[in-house]
């Protein structure tokens, strides 16, 4: 069992917890030497529909289990949300439906994807009934239709300025790093030391600060800098690969809309995170909501070296 699968089973037993507890368990469960930290792990779990995160309160909660049909995936469904050890055992050993087979696909840096192969058009609903979980279809498209744009995400985030007394850093979009600075008057994305965590503020050209998370702050900053060609899409035989830069993570709902098209965590290829099986319309919705123009490429993978 991978450490991420173990983490998911634990989270599902607990139901929820604090950021500090998550870090402790992540540290325990994850082998040394992984460049993948607890924060990235929690965001990955969120994009795969397993948890919701309240960053303000530094708390996470496991999402309820849901069965969904993946788009153009040969009739395969995906079971996402909470998954305890007992539930997994039930799927592995007690599922006795002639038209349903559960596959657990191991992933790097993510819990196993539970893909459900079906032999009939109604099998997924029947499985959902047996598991007593809801069944949804077209999840990626549903979420894509609901993606808030940057301004919608900023509506409730107007804030007072950050407090720099304990130190402040400013995001450098070119390098992706956070060098310390000695003033925070200019527009940009800032990170303020608060002790137990760092708080982010994005300051627009009018000097209005907004309390943001890394994803929202990064895309706001890219828009402010006029960088609009960061998101790529490469067509495949069916749908395509959506590429999002590693250093500019997609906001939670946007990442989830893309990930729910395959049920798989994006893979890292060079400097890009690649989401599989993303329809062009979903890719376009993700890009436009982040004030980006979707770049159609023949080989997004080669972007990793550019």
């Amino acid at each position: 069992m991978t450490s991420e699968e173990l983490l998911l089973q634990w989270a599902s037993e607990r139901g929820g917890g604090t950021w500090s507890e998550w870090k402790d368990v992540f540290r325990w469960a994850t082998p040394a030497g992984r460049p993948f930290g607890p924060s990235l792990a929690l965001r990955t779990f969120s994009m795969l529909g397993h948890v919701e995160i309240d960053w303000e309160a530094s708390r996470w909660t496991v999402a309820p289990p849901v069965l969904t049909l993946l788009p153009d995936a040969g009739g395969h469904g995906l079971l996402t949300g909470a998954r305890t050890g007992a539930l997994r055992k039930r799927l592995d050993h007690e599922l006795d439906h002639p038209d349903v087979l559960a596959h657990f696909v191991a992933q790097a840096d993510a819990p196993d994807a539970c893909l459900v192969g079906t032999g009939s058009g109604t099998a997924l609903q029947e499985l959902a009934d047996w598991l007593e979980v809801p069944y949804e279809h077209s999840l990626g498209r549903r979420l894509a239709a609901l993606l808030p744009d940057l301004d919608a995400m900023l509506v409730h985030r107007r804030s007072t300025p950050g407090i720099p007394d304990l130190g402040v850093e400013m995001f450098d979009a070119e390098s992706g790093r956070w060098p310390p600075v000695e003033e925070d008057a200019r527009p940009g994305l800032y990170r303020y030391e608060r002790g137990w965590r760092k708080e982010l503020r994005w300051k627009d050209d009018d000097g209005q600060p907004y309390h943001v998370d890394m994803a929202l702050g990064a895309w706001c900053e890219l828009r402010r800098l006029g960088r609009r060609s960061e998101i790529k899409w490469e067509p495949e035989s069916v749908h395509g690969l959506l590429g999002v830069p590693v250093r500019f993570p997609a906001p939670a709902l946007h990442a989830r809309a893309a990930a729910m098209c395959s049920g798989l965590a994006p893979t890292r290829e060079g400097r890009m995170l690649m989401y599989r099986n993303v329809p062009e319309d979903v890719a376009a919705a993700v890009a436009s909501s982040l004030s980006q123009e979707l770049v159609l490429v023949d080989a997004v993978r080669s972007e990793g070296v550019s």
Partner: protein, 705 residues
């Protein structure tokens, strides 16, 4: 070796005139006064203390005087022993008769004799030599009745301190010795010297004992035994530490001083010692400063002696910190340390080639701490001399966020600052020599950390997820530990300060398990299997989206506080709830790829779409070894029936994908006719769809007529 101190004329008048009561009073005032309330008191009567107590300022004169008054109370030849009278009086005294003579002078003489054993053997014979010598008695045997009375007198003193006065004159450190029942009491008061008591401040700092923290005596003793060997304790203290017989007494000493530890008090004295901290203030410009805490009892504006010999007056406008520290903030000061001596206190800056800092909002910056804590963010100051040796290790193990802050060069040349160092777990390679403070620990304690806890605070863990055992390294050796499970014991592997219990073979099964370490420490944990199919019910934060009437997303609130309005759309994990979501196509139907042809019908006659040729299966499915038996098809209406045409019989097969009953026809006669025609010549309908099928057939027939 007896010592003398200068004696004044008036004092000479007091010499050799002390009575038994004078000695009782003096001993009580010196050892058992209100000053010692709550503090473990050692009745250490040695020459140094005699010099302080007796007005002769001569240890030999004092000893002679003490012996004289004790001898004066002995009942030589009494059938109940020669200390019968002392014991009888002490019994009354112990029960609160303040007029009754106490046994302190006799007990003091016992301790003095024990202290004179010095570097000789710890034996009754050695003790007897000195005790009888003091009383000018034959040295062949202890006085008759000694064994009956003296142990009882020690017990009375213990009860007087603890039971009668509840520790208000000090806490007893008197413990019965099984190995040496006659001399062990006196011996126990001489082993742990004042200098040893003063070293306890170093010990408490080393285990990062927080003021008010409750650690029991056996656990403290366990850590002390591990810490003490390389910290210059007296021979007597080492003897006490190595002897199980003296363990209870030592536990009392340790726990008593630990209870009074406030971070500055030097145990056993009125002296206070405060640690000056290095502080890096990052904003607006990086600065390095020193901060001296003004602990309880330290004066508000003391005069201190600086290392350069200057006398400087410090000030404090706050109750917690001095306003400034009169020491230069330069490379040499950080490297070598310094101290400021005041009256009854000292402020100490510990020097070194590395200073570990942790954010302290009270300080307004990053303040020095003894060592790295697991998983916490630190900044690290490194001297130039060690930079090349340590930087590689630090960047390898300090996490992905750590970076050098080169601004330090302009404020503190010959030092380097590395920010955001997070050491998540014990590194595979230990830090370079002399950098032990970079090795993460859990407050240098035996602790269980990590695992898959099923509740806050630990205790119960998921099977397969026991916590790790953390053990402090002492003198480069790991503390041994063993595991007890279901009555079975096994020694735990002993290398390194971090042991992963989840990797034990055989693995830990469900039930209770107990870790035992250092003889006194016990940590227990319970492993519980997973039985829950669904997560517990908790408040679930949701994304909230306000949607306009035209279907635009007007605002988004991330998961957090507040309840959604009925109009808002909520997203929790993969569920979308509430509101109206536009632009979502109907549920796709699955078309079997092996069918030659397929058509989809809706509930309204006329709703009919043929399925075009299916695209090949996505490559990502082939990568995962998933079958591509079906292909999606999304008609422009809510589908009810899928009718597939196969090469083999039964050729035309119908199945329902919805339970929707027939509805009104569309306004297109040709489409309606085509719809109705599809419902004829069906070779197979699933049994469970038969009833619905008949309803649709009836509609089709009606259309046909």
């Amino acid at each position: 070796m007896l010592r003398y101190a200068p004696v004044g004329a008036q004092a000479l008048l007091m010499m050799r005139t002390w009575s038994y009561r004078d000695w009782s009073t003096a001993l009580r005032n010196h050892y058992f006064s209100a000053r010692s309330a709550g503090e473990p008191v050692l009745f250490l009567v040695d020459e140094d203390h005699l010099l302080e107590i007796h007005p002769s300022r001569s240890a030999s004169e004092a000893a002679a005087s003490l012996a004289e008054v004790v001898r004066g109370r002995m009942d030589f030849g009494h059938p109940n022993g020669e200390f019968h009278r002392v014991e009888r009086d002490a019994r009354r005294w112990r029960h609160g008769d303040s007029a009754a003579p106490d046994p302190l002078p006799l007990l003091a003489l016992c301790v003095l004799a024990a202290s004179w054993m010095g570097s000789g053997t710890v034996s009754t014979a050695n003790y007897r030599e000195h005790f009888c010598g003091l009383l000018d008695l034959p040295k062949t045997t202890l006085p008759p009745g000694y064994g009956l009375s003296v142990p009882q007198l020690w017990q009375y003193l213990h009860e007087w301190l603890e039971d009668l006065h509840g520790g208000s004159y000090g806490r007893s450190t008197i413990v019965k010795s099984a190995a040496q029942p006659w001399i062990g009491y006196a011996l126990s008061q001489t082993l742990f010297l004042s200098a040893d008591v003063a070293r306890l401040a170093d010990f408490f700092e080393s285990i990062e004992l927080a003021p008010g923290e409750d650690v029991d005596g056996p656990e403290l003793l366990a850590y002390f035994r591990a810490w003490a060997p390389s910290h210059g304790l007296s021979k007597g203290a080492r003897y006490m530490m190595d002897s199980d017989d003296h363990a209870p007494g030592l536990e009392r000493i340790l726990s008593g001083h630990a209870r009074r530890w406030d971070g500055t008090r030097v145990p056993g004295s009125g002296e206070r010692r405060s640690v000056i901290r290095v502080v890096v203030d990052p904003y607006p410009r990086l600065q390095v400063a020193l901060a001296a805490p003004r602990g309880e009892g330290l004066p508000e504006s003391p005069e201190v002696l600086a290392p350069d010999g200057r006398r400087v007056r410090m000030s404090s406008t706050s109750s917690h910190w001095y306003d400034s520290v009169p020491l230069p903030v330069e490379a040499g000061t950080l490297r070598h340390g310094a101290s400021l001596q005041g009256a009854g206190f000292s402020l100490i800056l510990r020097g070194g080639e590395v200073h570990v800092l942790r954010l302290d909002p009270q300080l307004g910056g990053w303040g020095s701490v003894p060592s790295v804590l697991v998983g916490e963010r630190h900044w690290v100051l490194l001297a130039d001399e060690v930079w090349e040796r340590v930087r590689g290790w630090l960047f390898e193990h300090g996490g992905s966020e750590c970076q050098e802050d080169e601004r330090l060069a302009r404020v503190l040349p010959r030092w380097h600052l590395v920010r955001d160092v997070v050491i998540e777990r014990p590194p595979a390679t230990p830090p370079p020599a002399g950098m032990a403070c970079l090795s993460p620990s859990i407050q240098h304690r035996v602790a269980l950390k990590g695992g898959l806890p099923l509740q806050r605070g630990g205790g119960a863990y998921l099977v397969g997820g026991p916590p790790d055992l953390w053990r402090p390294m002492i003198d480069e050796e790991t503390i041994p530990a063993r595991l007890v499970s279901n009555g079975q014991e096994r020694d735990l592997p002993g290398e390194g300060l971090h042991l992963r219990l989840a990797d034990l073979d055989p693995p830990l099964g469900h039930g209770e398990h107990v870790i035992q370490a250092l003889g006194a420490l016990r940590r227990s944990l319970t492993l519980v299997p997973s039985t829950r199919l669904k997560p517990p019910t908790v408040d679930r934060p949701e994304h909230r989206l306000a949607i306009t009437t035209t279907g635009q997303v007007e605002s988004h609130q991330p998961p957090g506080v507040g309840l959604a309005t009925p109009e808002e759309v909520r997203v929790s994990g993969a569920r979308v709830l509430g509101g109206a979501v536009a632009g979502v196509p109907p549920q796709p139907v699955l078309i079997n790829r092996r069918a030659r042809y397929a058509v989809v019908l809706g509930s309204r006659p006329g709703e009919r779409e043929g399925v075009p040729s299916r695209p090949p299966a996505p490559s990502w499915m082939a990568d995962l070894g998933l079958s591509d038996r079906f292909a999606d098809f999304s008609p422009s209406f809510e589908p009810v029936w899928v009718i597939e045409t196969w090469a083999d019989a039964p050729r035309r097969r119908a199945r329902a994908v919805s339970g929707q009953k027939p509805e009104a026809a569309v306004d297109d006669l040709d489409a309606v006719a085509a719809w109705a025609e599809e419902l004829s010549e069906i070779d197979r309908v699933r049994a469970r769809d038969e009833e619905l099928w008949q309803q649709y057939v009836a509609v089709a027939e009606e259309i046909g007529t």
